[in-house]
Symmetry: C2
Subunit: 412 residues, 2 copies
């Protein structure tokens, strides 16, 4: 068998992990898969003097693009600037591409999959969602016989770590974020995580695979965890659950897609309620298989690198299954308007009339917490749409009741 040559673009956390896992486990990879491979180039703008693989480093993408020996390109640069340009050109040059770049897949997936199909190569991205958890492949392939009607998940380890600290140790958001930053779980600029953008990209990718249509992040209502307070966490406990940042999507009968990212009250009966710390959990709902949950480390150097390597092996072997991963860009927004999506909602109210307003709310369940101030109340509403929720909030505000928080309830 011909030895497949690989180029790794980007030698940061994931890229260096890929090189490490490749050489560490090559013997068993070869034994298990029969694929003969080697890394020919590592592309990075930086110098790595003394690095064990120094002779492989290059700075010019043209070398990769024009080298017919390179069959597989691994992209771990991130973003949609250079990464997009290099991935596109690699595919056009007839090379398969493996990426861990969720932004690239969420923004450009349909286009890049089309180029890959036209060129008869593969564009693979197992590592873009769920780090080391196998989810893209199982969703596409192992569940191929199911109608998938929904996916919901804890897709971001950083925010899950912060929420876990808020729940278990009663930390404030700010203290928990600081600790996550000190431990290297959160970046100095944590916006992509705490504002929900990272989770949004991932649920877009999962929706595209499940439903066959590209869903652009810009169409997805995305709320992060920056407004979640210790009080909300306490009321969630009173409700019998925990607050998690949930990306969720489902398909309606008319073919439109419900999709959103926001904090949610997750009842303790849900398999997602026990997914703590930096772990991710993804629940797939299929008509035949029922609920299936995938759980593991959603990020990190080696887990992500191992997901990249699994794709590299597939690319080297030319797996038919992987070739068939595909979705279309319909050119229009097929999502259900956010205002039409329905949930039960947790509401935290303040003001002299808060308790009375809560008690008077039709179909609502009143919640309690320890040391609850007199002028505070909390309820779980009946099932209403976001539009109806907005009307309810306006009505409460106009009667002098402040709405301090509203968080959806995830149904099991």
């Amino acid at each position: 068998m011909e030895v497949k040559k690989i180029a790794v673009m980007g030698y940061g956390t994931v890229g260096s992990g890929v090189v490490e896992v490749f050489y560490k486990n090559y013997a068993s990879i070869k034994r298990r898969t029969g694929a003969e491979m080697d890394i020919k180039y590592i592309l990075d703008i930086r110098d790595f003097p003394g690095n064990e693989y120094e002779s492989k480093f290059i700075k010019d993408f043209n070398i990769i693009e024009s080298d017919p020996e390179v069959a597989i390109v691994v992209e771990t640069i991130g973003g949609i600037g250079l990464a997009y340009d290099f991935v596109r050109r690699s595919l056009l040059a007839g090379k398969s591409v493996v990426t861990s770049n969720k932004e690239l897949v969420a923004e450009k997936g349909a286009e890049l999959l089309q180029i890959a199909r036209d060129k008869g190569v593969m564009f693979l991205f197992e590592a873009s969602v769920g780090g080391g958890i196998p989810i893209i492949h199982p969703l596409h392939q192992c569940l191929a016989a199911n109608e998938i009607y929904g996916v919901e998940g804890i897709l971001n380890g950083t925010t899950n770590y912060i929420l876990t600290k808020m729940i278990r140790e009663k930390m404030s958001f700010e203290t928990a974020l600081k600790q996550a930053q000190d431990l290297g779980y959160a970046e100095r600029n944590p916006d992509a995580d705490v504002l929900g953008h990272d989770a949004c990209r991932k649920i877009c990718i999962l929706a595209a695979i499940a439903f066959g249509k590209h869903v652009y992040p810009k169409y997805v209502s995305t709320e992060g965890i920056t407004s979640v307070t210790a009080e909300d966490v306490e009321y969630a406990a009173g409700f019998g659950g925990v607050i998690k940042l949930i990306g969720s999507t489902s398909r309606r009968e008319d073919g439109r897609i419900e999709i959103e990212v926001s904090p949610a009250f997750v009842p303790s009966e849900s398999q997602l309620s026990g997914v703590d710390d930096v772990f991710n959990g993804i629940l797939v709902r299929g008509d035949a298989t029922g609920d299936v949950v995938f759980y593991g480390k959603g990020a990190g150097k080696l887990p992500t690198a191992s997901a990249v390597m699994a794709d590299v092996i597939d690319a080297a072997k030319g797996s038919e299954g992987a070739k068939n991963m595909f979705w279309v860009d319909t050119g229009c927004d097929e999502t259900v308007p956010h205002g039409e999506i329905e949930h039960r909602f947790y509401l935290r109210l303040a003001g002299a009339e808060a308790a009375k307003a809560a008690a008077a709310m039709e179909g609502a369940q009143v919640l309690y917490r320890e040391k609850q101030p007199d002028e505070e109340a909390a309820v779980i509403t009946a099932v209403v749409s976001y539009d109806a929720l907005d009307a309810l909030k306006a009505q409460l505000e106009s009667s002098g009741v402040k709405v301090l928080a509203n968080i959806r309830v995830l149904e099991n």
Copy 2:
């Protein structure tokens, strides 16, 4: 693309589910995978007058074997009598085989995989473990870049249902078994489930995939749940955990395989502790990916049928990845002798000297339960081998202390 013709052997729960899922979801299967297929024959010794697919029913396997149009054979007969004969002959006739028959794979997997390889066809068995949970494929393919060093799982839904009832509703084993039988979760002869044989076959299959060597059920120490009592369940709660039937396997540095099936104290921090009712959970430990857990319905008509269908689709597409699933029969027992395996153990003791013996045990942690009788004590021992445990039990018995129960502790 040529239409692939399928023969389904056995029209029981799983077989009829396969036919149902096939026709119900065929449009989306075709859209998603590009595979064109049809079911040509359904083999069963029984008559199904008035059945929608009556014209497809046959009673003679020779028709399938000698029909060159049949490319894929689905085996859902069960057992290793007729099923083994038909599967072997199908493979020898150059047809790919998909099976849900864990006994067949656990007993004859190496041989059948070798025949499939020789004939250039596939032998696939995603449905044999974990029902509708994708586990065989992810373990083989998505985790291909990992060294897998261990797998442990709740692999049998019937026993998990019984244990869940014993834990939540303080039922006795007998009452819970009766209820499981009434609900159709347990068979009238429940031995294969409650004695652990079903879980044993499944952990053998997972070990074979993870470590590349066939592990025969006869070499695996297998203990069921028939001795688990309400008292043990209470002590487990006092320990901070639950009792689950665990099949586990790991590879030692010298290449030998630790493997066993028995009840275990599962600490509540373990992701397996929350796997309740008829659900299955399988934890895979990889060097790069860390711990990954797969969760879902481990049995049932439609989940199992959907796993079969996923394999049928792979067979129809001729997936390279699936082709590479393989393990060898080394011809010798490569398991670690059971007596050498080490754990902490829960011991329940009785007798006038029980409490004193428990308190005197080096490195042990004493457990308590409500309304604990005077002449009863329970401990978690230090880490010892089964051989050492036997010696300890003999020593206790000789000093007049009865050992009523011993159950291993699953470490996280």
